[in-house]
Amino acid sequence: MRAMPLDAAPATTRPLVEVEDLARDFDVSKPWLIRLLQGERRRILRAVAGVSFAIPRGTTLSLVGESGCGKTTVARLVVGLYAPTRGTIRIDGIDLASLTSRAQQAPVRRRLQMIFQDPYASLNPRWRVGDIIAEPIRAFGLLKERSDIEARVSELLRQVGLSPKDAEKYPHEFSGGQRQRISIARALSSNPEFLVCDEPTSALDVSVQAQILNLMKDLQERLGLTYLFISHNLAVVRHMSDRIGVMYLGRIVELAPGETLFASPQHPYTRLLLEAIPDLEMTGRQRTPVGGEVPSPIDPPSGCSFHPRCPFANDRCRAEAPRLIRRGETEVACHAVEEGRLAA
């Protein structure tokens, strides 16, 4: 394991988060005895198959894609809820894998927090809101005095638009949107620099979603936060992000600044996604539905995993997996784009 706190780039310009060739397999085989009796082989689900990205300080990178594309697994790998099968994650230049003891991990872990999708499942129903929010403060030993902790919890509640009096209540007394505010307050309580947000608004109604998205943008501006934002909703992603990565079957197929991605999508899958979303502005338009479904990540197609659905696929696409290639501001993994077979 290499620990590399001092690298070529000076700390100020270096991205806060650097992920390199990250991969994660899940073993979904049947128990070995059954495999033995039925003569089956191990089945490996490759949820994330080599993903690289960097997030500069104070910016938002979003990962977008359909169910099963691996975006949530990336989020969980980055915060350490899963161990990677391969690849490195560096926060501020520190390789997370180099930290072996709890004592080494704690100072880094404090700097990154996660917000989960379902605010009904991510808050302990038996704890008071004040205790939920104070848990990271206590776990990292950031404040010792009870009165200091209470004051900090009140400040956090106000910061997310709730009242300090809400600390006494239980989660069931709050609506979905208010619960998500509580999750955000809990995430902020350890003064993190980096938040991983896994579909933070997809369980919410649109008017409440707008409140939470506005809150997250305000907090980013005020506290200089860096976000990794995971969503299946392209409109939400466009609203929130500086850069966007489009994922398909465990890989990033296109990575570009938000404006560029929407103005000139390159990868055929990105084009399909943008084409597919119903939008308010296009009342009555006819669209060309693209056939097919996302294949299983247990037995992905050979070559480029998008080729069975791709109208531009040729023999090379069926045999050879494309790598991300930079074209202007966009990085795209597509043979057709690379060879110029696809009109821009």
């Binding site: 707008a210 392209l234 609203h239 979303i277 119903p278 996302v294």
Partner: protein, 328 residues
């Protein structure tokens, strides 16, 4: 005469804490072959309105007032046996989760055949031939081979296609589609919506499309009803409601949806949340969240009224002497 006519519909749920009114005095019509979108946030009463029409409200919930007419005939007072014949034959239903709609123990072919035989009185052979045609029509590859497969052998998108075939196979005049694409991924959602639109146009079937996704409505519906706290806040042609919202709630709702085509620094937000059914405010239910509320809004409940455009809104701004009238 409209195909479906709902007049002053009221649905109540008795609870320990008193009677909750989930749908309160709702009236609308759907014409032959028309797609009416019904949009609103959770708890607005849109699904219950749909369930009331096909009389699938879970007891102790009940229709407490109003009337529902199909082709002029009252159907809310029909005895259960006769209502069973209306359901399926004249009104089809598509729900959000295809797994709960399909019977997991029967092959999809058997479910289609049974539905057609019950309502259309077809022979076994004819019903099976038509079932295969329907599966081809909704785009199931290898329909003749897959007709004897069971629901668990299909993906989510394919199951929803089967559900659409099942809802349409008895050739109903009206389909109630409650969040038909919410459980699906966007690329699959687009396929399913396109399919529903095409089939209903071909067969002249009217659709009541219930969803929280304004984008789906904008793309599919002819007219849209926006519901809030058990009532219709605004109803009108889709383009008009999207581009030229009259009710302050509709306006806020449209502003709070992030757009794909232009980016704003902040989304317009409506503060607060929809009231619970236990404490719906006096007057207009939206008044505590409304930036333009005045005295009348806090005391008197507005009915749908003309707005000087093609849509109608339940908002006092448009009443005689109302502020919006003067501005317009």
């Amino acid at each position: 005469m409209p195909l479906l006519e709902v007049n002053n519909l009221r649905v109540e749920f008795p609870t320990r804490r008193g009677v909750l009114t989930a749908v309160d005095d709702v009236s609308f019509t759907i014409d032959e072959g028309e797609v009416l979108g019904v949009v609103g946030e959770s708890g607005a009463g849109k699904s219950i309105t749909g369930a009331a029409i096909i009389r699938l409200i879970e007891p102790p919930g009940r229709i407490a007032g109003g009337e529902i007419r199909l082709n002029g005939r009252r159907i809310d007072t029909l005895p259960p046996e006769e209502m069973r014949r209306v359901r399926g034959r004249q009104i089809g239903a598509i729900f959000q989760d295809p797994l709960t709609t399909l019977n997991p123990l029967y092959s999809i072919g058997r479910q289609l055949v049974e539905t057609m035989q019950t309502h259309l009185g077809l022979s076994d052979r004819e019903a099976r031939a038509r079932a295969i045609r329907w599966l081809e029509d909704v785009g199931i590859p290898g329909a003749a081979q897959r007709i004897d497969s069971y629901p668990h052998q299909f993906s989510g998108g394919m199951r929803q296609r089967v559900v659409i075939a099942l809802a349409l196979c008895a050739e109903p005049r009206l389909v109630i589609a409650d969040e038909p694409t919410t459980a699906l991924d966007v690329s699959i959602q687009a396929q399913v919506i396109a399919l529903l639109k095409r089939l209903c146009r071909e067969h002249g079937t009217a659709v009541m499309l219930i969803t929280h996704d304004m984008g789906v409505i904008a793309e599919t519906a002819d007219r849209v009803a926006v519901m809030y706290a058990g009532r219709i806040a605004e109803i009108g042609p889709v383009r008009e409601v999207v581009k030229n919202a009259r009710h302050p709630y509709t306006e806020g709702l449209m502003g709070s949806i992030p757009s794909l085509t232009h980016r704003v620094a902040r989304l317009r937000q409506i503060d607060g949340a929809m009231p619970r059914l236990t404490d719906i405010p006096k007057g207009c239910a939206f008044n505590p969240r409304c930036g333009r509320a005045f005295d009348r809004c806090r005391s008197e409940r507005p009915e749908l009224m003309a707005t000087g455009g093609p849509s109608r809104a339940a908002c006092w701004l448009y009443a005689e002497g109302g502020h919006a009238r003067d501005a317009a």
